[in-house]
């Protein structure tokens, strides 16, 4: 994690990674409902996010994530907890 990882920069990075994988979707779109996006694709992008921020999200959390907004919130919480 970089010192400049504010909530805003996390949102920008995470949404960028997700859109790169699934296409240009709204922040509140259910990712698994997008045509051509399956659970493997979602898990892969979440793994990329975890790697980017060197965090580990809990499985229960990961499987409950539906939208870009959800992922951003989870990452922000994890990064904040890591720095605490």
């Amino acid at each position: 994690m970089k010192a400049a990882d504010t909530g805003e920069s996390i949102a920008e990075t995470v949404s960028g990674l997700i859109r790169q994988a699934v296409g240009d979707v709204a922040d509140d779109t259910d990712l698994r409902m997008i045509e051509g996006v399956d659970s493997v694709k979602v898990l892969r992008v979440i793994a990329a996010v975890e790697r980017t921020y060197d965090i580990e999200l809990e499985d229960e959390e990961v499987f409950a994530l539906k939208t870009i907004d959800d992922v951003v919130r989870s990452v922000q919480d994890a990064v904040q907890a890591q720095g605490a």
Partner: protein, 193 residues
Amino acid sequence: MTAEPSGGQPEQQRQPGQPEQPEQPGHLELPWRVLPDYRCFGCSPVNGKGLRLRFQPDGDGIACALRFDRDYESHPGVVHGGVLSTVCDEIMGNLLVLRVGIPVFTTTLRVRFITSATIGADYRCVATTTADSATPGPYQARAEVFDGDGGLVVSAVGQYHPIAVEENRDRIDMTDEQAILIERELAKLRADH
């Protein structure tokens, strides 16, 4: 690949039940090779029942090529998840030893299976860490298994506790001579960093 790894023991022919790992030129020499009877299930080239993993430098980390036959199957046609977990653990542990020059023991291993791996197909496992010899343990490393198209198949994170050879003597069955041999190899690694 050296013809006589591990203290001069001839490399064994593949036995039934032994994974046929793809050839990798320019593999890394692990410090354990100096032990005359080095049998690590993950990385000894002479353990006929082991995985016989060979590692190569890969960017900031190390990597190994993988291919498993049906002796390593779970569901029909699917590589057993425990085998892939072992691969991830093995590559992370060896990366850390090569990086910090101290033996490490796994304390936590978290493995996420993204999708299944297919028997007979080629995969590649890559491990990275931010740990170095200047930082105290415990160390963390990350390992990922990719398919032939670069798609992520397994993602793993491990936590490792460093324990110096001398502190390890009551846990590991080693003679004084073997401990000296290993410590000499590890000291070379520490000097290189």
